[in-house]
């Protein structure tokens, strides 16, 4: 299977990183649910906090599971991240722009 220099990232010992990552992401999700279901904050507050939590979730995924810092192939990683940011911006920004017609109509 392996061609070229193929480095196996053999992990030894207990996978602490993954377990902590799993717990963190569960906790972040639980907080979001609790905010939405069990508290009575105004929607704007809830949404803001959920966005922040979502960003935290993103970092957990990148660092704990996707070994973001361990790559030896920066040449591809950097443009990919920029492209991902571009898509995220387009999807979120675009949707807000498009759906804002409701405020004009109503």
């Amino acid at each position: 299977m392996e061609t070229k220099e193929h480095k196996f990232h053999q992990e030894t010992g207990f996978p602490w990183k993954h377990v902590i990552g799993l717990l963190l992401s569960l906790v972040l999700t639980a907080i979001a649910f609790w905010l939405a279901l069990a508290t009575h904050q105004p929607p704007a507050v809830v949404i803001t906090i959920i966005v922040v939590l979502g960003f935290g979730q993103l970092l957990v995924q990148l660092y704990m599971f996707m070994h973001f810092t361990e790559s030896d192939d920066r040449a591809w990683q950097v443009p990919t991240i920029y492209f991902a940011l571009f898509i995220a911006f387009t999807v979120v920004g675009g949707s807000i722009w498009i759906m804002s017609f409701r405020s004009i109509v109503s």
């Binding site: 299977m1 999807v91 949707s95 498009i98 017609f101 409701r102």
Partner: protein, 654 residues
């Protein structure tokens, strides 16, 4: 007792009339026939060992393509049923309800269960061979992708005879697919099946992205990749970024339907338009996912049969990258009529038109590749050359649709139906057929018959134009899509009749293709050289079909069109004589992917019929099979040198 019988009759749709009874009968016969045949010829073990548990990309590719052709048949039958219903005013061959279900399953099957597996099949068949490696980066994951697609396709097709098909169109817009207007399991089938196959597709995207980045043979730089592999690379990127949006949209809608939330119901403060927005954020990139690999196939076929290197390689690459980026910023053109305002509509209109530029660049490059080449009109080349004008019609009418004020006229009319069939059939399906004729010898070691191939091409291509060209005019005359019948007196009748005749001709073309497959399997010319077309890329350097390990020794690449260069300089694919073979490291077969997909299937059934026990059992099964994999330590084996020597000697490469 009576209650149970009534429930069962309704569940299995026995109260729906003869069409369903006939289908039940045929499905029963086919199933029993297959089981009896497999048992009689003692093929179960063979099937399990060689196909159901395989992780070999070549076999997975073949299974994808077989599934795609079967689904083309199913979707095509749907198409013919609709055309029969529309062939004359005031027909009531199908009821409105049945017509709705049929156009929904037709559209969904054609895009998600025909076009997608067809192109992913070619990913598997060609990419590892073209870049000179032995399998994809994650062979086990590849098998999971396939079986997820397969169980999703099964689930979706089951809706025809169990519980009722979805009927909200392949776009499945709320509010009319919300429970209030559309009760029953039908729409859930759509949501769950797409969710399952979507997971498999994302995995495929990741898999091929990594394969192309990390598994290339030494010397195979990115700018030496065959153009098909480039198209797969770009497509994989689009898949990875687009499909998650679909996942979210489908999940929210399913939560609405299954658990009574209000993401998209107006009464509960939801926003149905947001679903439409999300759907097309995925939907437009999706149409590029199914067309870019077809572009890639075309580039291979055109340059092989013009016996010239591809014209404008870098321009091809740059234009594909441009298309990939642009494909993410055009989605509003599917709902200009929502009325998001002049700013939004003009922006997305202009960005849509901009896609015509890189696409045009590609068309000119194909033409210049043929220019002054020694063009050989094989069946594969016929499909490739036929692609250009037909796709052009699709593309140009697309630019017409991209003008927002004009779109208010064309929107959801037969003009649109004709437009997207020109891109999907004239583009994707033609490209897929070109690929089938081109890579068939590599997959099976046999050539498809050229004479039957020509008949197939001409009947299908002419039938296609007779079927869909008149529909542009139906659109101008005001005929809307998704109408199950229409009154006389609009002058639509005769045009519809012509269109139906064309559809029948396409059906005939498809049958000729099936006949060609059967005929060639028995009498077709064997491909003994492995290089029947005087090919240019590495897949033609090895035997047809390629040995399990693809290349006994990983080749070193010295330029573009690697195999062509080797032939020019008289090099062997195994490098200089006397380099010793070494044992080859290969992944083990595994039965777990198919079992895991079975659990997905079960869980899917649970979510469709809201039988939560079933859903929980299915999901637990998925978790357990996933966990088992983590503790699997013996997942590979080595092919011993003697076996490699035997295989290579038989291929005449020693």
């Amino acid at each position: 007792m009576n209650g149970v019988v009534n429930w069962a009759v309704h569940f299995f749709m026995l109260d729906e009339g003869p069409l369903i009874w006939l289908s039940d009968f045929l499905i029963g016969c086919a199933t029993i026939g297959i089981i009896v045949a497999l048992t009689y010829f003692k093929l179960w073990k063979w099937l399990w060992d060689n196909w159901l548990t395989t992780v070999d990309h070549k076999k997975i590719g073949i299974m994808y393509l077989i599934a795609a052709v079967l689904m083309l048949f199913r979707g095509g039958t749907d198409g013919l049923l609709m055309r029969a219903q529309l062939s004359w005013p005031n027909l009531h061959f199908l009821t409105a309800d049945h017509y709705d279900q049929i156009f929904t399953t037709h559209g969904t099957i054609m895009i998600l269960f025909m076009a997608m597996p067809a192109i992913i099949g070619f990913f598997n068949v060609a990419v590892p061979l073209q870049i000179g490696c032995r399998d994809v980066a994650f062979p086990y994951l590849n098998a999971i992708s396939f079986w997820l697609f397969f169980s999703a396709a099964l689930l979706f097709n089951l809706s025809f005879v169990v519980g009722g098909s979805p009927d909200g169109g392949w776009t499945s817009y709320p509010p009319y697919v919300e429970n209030f207007f559309d009760p029953g399991p039908g729409e859930n089938y759509f949501l769950v099946a797409l969710q399952i196959t979507g997971i498999g597709t994302i995995a495929t995207g990741v898999n091929f992205l990594i394969t192309i980045l990390r598994m290339r043979a030494p010397g195979m730089t990115m700018m030496r990749l065959p153009m098909f592999t480039w198209s797969v690379f770009i497509t994989s990127i689009i898949i990875v970024f687009a499909f998650p949006v679909l996942t979210v949209a489908l999940a929210l809608l399913l939560i609405d339907r299954d658990f009574g939330s209000h993401f998209f119901t107006v009464t509960g403060g939801g926003m149905p338009m947001q679903y439409i927005n999300l759907f097309w954020i995925w939907g437009h990139p999706e149409v590029y996912i199914v067309i870019l690999p077809a572009f890639g196939i075309l580039s291979e076929v055109v340059s092989t049969f013009s016996h010239k290197r591809l014209f404008g390689y870098s321009a091809m690459v740059v234009s594909m990258i441009a298309i990939a980026i642009l494909s993410f910023v055009v989605w509003v053109h599917h709902f200009f009529t929502m009325g998001a305002g002049p700013g939004v509509n003009s922006f997305f209109g202009v960005s849509t038109m901009a896609i015509a530029i890189p696409t045009g660049v590609k068309v000119f490059n194909w033409l210049f590749t043929m220019h002054k080449g020694r063009v050989e009109f094989t069946s594969a080349m016929l499909w490739a050359v036929g692609f250009i004008p037909n796709f052009l019609i699709g593309g140009l009418t697309g630019v017409m649709l991209a003008v927002p004020p004009a779109d208010y006229q064309y929107h959801n009319s037969y003009f649109l139906i004709a437009h997207f069939h020109y891109t999907l059939i004239g583009g994707t399906v033609f490209g897929v057929f070109a690929g089938i004729y081109y890579w068939w010898p590599k997959m099976f070691g046999v050539l498809l018959d050229e004479k039957l191939g020509r008949w197939h091409f001409w009947t299908f291509m002419i039938g296609f134009n007779i079927c869909f060209f008149p529909q542009f005019f139906l659109g101008f005359m005001g005929m809307q899509r998704r109408m199950y019948t229409y009154p006389a007196g609009y002058g639509w009748g005769i045009i519809n009749l012509i269109s139906t005749v064309g559809a029948v001709l396409m059906g005939v073309g498809f049958l000729i293709f099936v006949w060609n497959v059967l005929w060639s399997a028995r009498f077709g010319q064997r491909d003994t050289t492995g290089d029947p077309w005087d090919g240019r890329s590495l897949e033609w350097a090895t035997t047809s079909p390629a040995p399990e390990y693809n290349f006994a020794i990983i080749p070193t690449i010295k330029g573009r069109d690697a195999w062509w260069l080797m032939k020019k300089t008289g090099e062997s694919i195994n490098g200089p004589k006397g380099v010793p073979f070494r044992p080859i490291h290969m992944p083990n077969n595994s039965g777990r992917p198919i079992i895991m997909s079975l659990f997905f299937f079960i869980a899917g059934g649970g979510f469709i019929f809201q039988w939560w026990v079933l859903a929980i059992i299915g999901l637990l099964g998925v978790l357990v099979t996933m966990a088992q994999r983590s503790f699997e330590y013996h997942d590979h084996h080595y092919i011993p040198v003697e076996e490699i020597e035997r295989t290579e000697a038989a291929a005449g490469r020693l």
